[in-house]
Amino acid sequence: MPPISDIFFYLFAAMTLFCGLMVVANPLSRNPVTSAIFLVLTIVSMSGLFVLLHAFFLAAVQILVYAGAVMVLFLFVIMLLDIKEEERRKFKVISSGIGALAVFGTAAIFLKSIGTTQWKGATPTIEGSTVALGKLLFDKFLLPFEIVSVLLLVAMIGVILLSRKELK
């Protein structure tokens, strides 16, 4: 009987992969709302993986921000715009061939890089304390932090500008 953290890892990893697959390739329903709900489940299982890595703050913030706010807005937009299921398009050979080539190429790169990395293979020892994270954000990684906030500001201003009504 493997240790309980291994069981949880397999459980969460399987859930993440399954729900991620269901977002894009759901054989039962092509409803966009179903895809959004599966994406929420993917995010929740990923936060479970974060907990196993002892990054409690990241896990909680993942649920709080991603699953709780971003995905709700996604669902909101899907429902408000009444996006229906897409019609099935005709199968085109050349596009599918190029797509398959891209997928297999990316998969080959991933597998090669996973195979040649030296994994440390130990359970995490540092308890991800929130105080330490806060200190890091404000002294070693201050510039990236500020740049990310400027990025968000630019996105918001762009949205407001694009959706402004013309002043008569």
Binding site: V33, I37, I63, A67, G68, A69, L75, F76, M79, T130
Partner: protein, 382 residues
């Protein structure tokens, strides 16, 4: 009894803690939370009735117990047996699924509303210790983030309920409620940051022990040792508590922010297509989230299970002390539940644009300014 104790002591500590955690979860859920939900429905009906010049439920009675000489009619007049009648009615009523709903989401939505409301109770310390066991199901170091995360998951139930019902009024109610809840989540989260800045930890039990020693956040004079710093920070804490209180009303869709389920406008909002047991689940979810919001307010601003006299500000060393702490906590929660119920009939409903205006354009700037002012005051005091 002795053999049971022997068997208990022979188990590994891991098994012991797993068994006791399961007992705690089941005990809190079925012995504390569900009866509190049922009786808070009764309390709402009685208090609303008294404010509205009428009597409320006073006729439900059990066959034998109702005829005990003086106690029977008194309890019946108080309506104590009414939640039993409501439960039996919910079980026996026809649970009707209309043909035009989206069945999977229709069935999931009440469950998705109820589960986060119950999960949040897992981190709340409703007492200090009882014997040697801590009176909190999960003593997380990021307790408050867990709480806010789970509360934000509760929005999904309402979104899906409105979407699944596939008809005008529930859809409008669901969308309105979603927008309202995500707006006030922001204000709620930002308004409690000053509390954590002062205390320095995110663990809910540590918050209570800090308040037990240095004075409650909202009432700094309830302390065993008064400090000047806590009085200086009192205005910031009042602002913080005010924003949190109003945001809690908006999060639980209670008046004056109950436009998503207003009877005069939207029939019953997202509840319209639901009957009997599923409606009962929504109803229980709403009252459970009210209880959770009251718990959060008590823990963060009113000192949790502690009182500044009779030595009740230290973690309990005896069973009596442990029980006293639990009783104090429950009394404070009941006070806030009465506040929730009272405010429902005190204030008229907010119009939707006024509601969103309040959440985004008034509360968020005030909460941000509050964080800044608290930081400045703390810098000069330390």
């Amino acid at each position: 009894m002795d053999s049971l104790l022997q068997h208990w002591n022979s188990l590994a500590p891991l098994t012991q803690s797993v068994v006791f955690s399961t007992l705690k979860v089941l005990g809190v859920l079925f012995l504390a939370l569900l009866p509190m939900v049922a009786y808070s429905v009764l309390a709402e009906r009685k208090i609303s009735a008294f404010i509205q010049d009428r009597q409320g439920p006073n006729r439900a009675s059990l066959p034998l117990l109702g005829s005990i000489p003086i106690l029977g009619p008194l309890l019946t007049k108080l309506g104590i047996w009414q939640p039993l009648a409501d439960g039996v009615k919910s079980i026996l009523k026809e649970d009707f699924t209309p043909s035009y709903v989206r069945k999977a989401y229709f069935w999931l939505a009440p469950a998705i509303t109820l589960i986060p409301a119950f999960m949040t109770v897992g981190v709340i310390p409703f007492g200090s210790t009882l014997g040697s066991q801590k009176m909190v199901i999960a003593d997380l170091n990021v307790g408050i983030l867990y709480t806010f995360g789970i509360v934000s998951l509760g929005v999904y139930g309402i979104v899906l309920a409105g979407y699944a019902s596939n008809s005008k009024y529930p859809f409008l109610g669901g969308i309105r409620s979603t927008a309202q809840m995500i707006s006030y989540e922001l204000a709620m989260g930002m308004s409690v940051i000053p509390v954590f800045m002062i205390i320095g930890k995110l663990n809910l039990s540590d918050i209570i022990t800090h308040q037990a020693q240095h004075g409650w956040m909202a009432l700094p004079f309830m302390a065993t040792q008064q400090t000047f710093a806590s009085y200086l920070l009192w205005p910031c804490m009042i602002v913080s508590f005010g924003i949190f209180l109003v945001s809690a009303f908006a999060e639980t869709n209670r008046l004056p922010f109950d436009l998503p389920e207003s009877e005069t406008e939207l029939v019953a909002g997202y509840n319209t297509e639901y009957s009997s047991m599923k409606f009962a689940l929504f109803f229980m979810g709403e009252y459970a989230s009210m209880i959770t919001a009251s718990c959060m307010m008590v823990v963060l601003f009113f000192g949790g299970w502690s009182l500044p006299f009779f030595g009740l500000d230290q973690p309990a060393t005896s069973i009596i002390g442990g029980l006293a702490h639990i009783a104090i906590f429950v009394a404070k929660i009941l006070f806030f539940m009465v506040v929730f119920i009272w405010v429902r009939w005190m204030l008229p409903r907010f119009r939707y644009d006024q509601l969103m205006d309040l959440g985004w354009r008034r509360f968020i700037p005030v909460a941000l300014a509050n964080i800044l002012v608290t930081a400045v005051v703390m810098y000069f005091v330390r």
